[in-house]
Point group: D3
Chain length 62, copies 6
């Protein structure tokens, strides 16, 4: 029943599959909660929708 | 002022309207807080963005 | 695998049990997803930690 | 390291830049935490995905 | 109906009142949405519950 | 600037430090984003505040 949420810029499908697999396995090993109890939610945000230090990420990466 | 957030796979507009109406009415009845105070946020996620038990939902549903 | 999150002021244990039962049943009926797939997270906040219209809820309820 | 998340209807890029700049500067001044430590996440939702008082925002704005 | 959520370390009641007032006013001015529509949720976290760069904030501040 | 949020039952400080270290390192390796950009937020919830399949976790674990 633990929920792991990632808020970040867009990712390929392959990286999402790797993140889900690896983070679930890690968190399961550390907490002792079986992996099938974990839910991972990946919230992909446009670079116009992430601010760092008061500036949009899309401006910082120009 | 309570906020109910749903993170789940895509839904039709009709189901979203039903969820908003029903969850607001029931949460209002149980808590005694008037329905007009409730906000519902529906965060629809692609099946590539949901992980269950270490696997993407899009792979589990193949 | 849907996740329902409630952010609101403190509740009794009985009301939390009722909310979890009722919202899960409702959301399951509307979406067709079996109830055992639903996770509900109740995030109770102090009235000093909720703002409505620019004022703390603890001030509004004085 | 503070995270400010906004859940709201769609905005222009210019308004998002203004929100990120202004909210970061003000939250930094009030808390004394340097602006470069702040992350802002803007989660834009369709009006079909926001419920107010049990109704979809898209219906309320008709 | 916009929701502004802050996740950060503990704050005094006075700073929370200032954050709620200032961020609501700023966001209202920029978006044109009336201030009474805004909800602010302040999620205070222990320094043992925040990680930056792979380390707990409580270790980084020693 | 990615944010990883964990919502789960209470953990020891040692397990929180391990989760922050391991999830940050792995998410950094998979995404290619440097570890110092990652924030982890651990939201510990009482077992009365987590529902699974319509029942409180505190009832399920009796």
């Amino acid at each position: 029943m633990p929920v792991i949420t990632l808020d970040m810029a867009a990712l390929t499908r392959e990286k999402k599959a790797q993140l889900v697999q690896t983070l679930t396995r890690n968190a399961s090993e550390i907490t002792g909660i079986p992996p099938e109890k974990f839910i991972v939610l990946i919230n992909e945000l446009e670079r116009d929708n992430i601010g760092v230090g008061g500036e949009l990420l899309s401006d910082l990466m120009k």
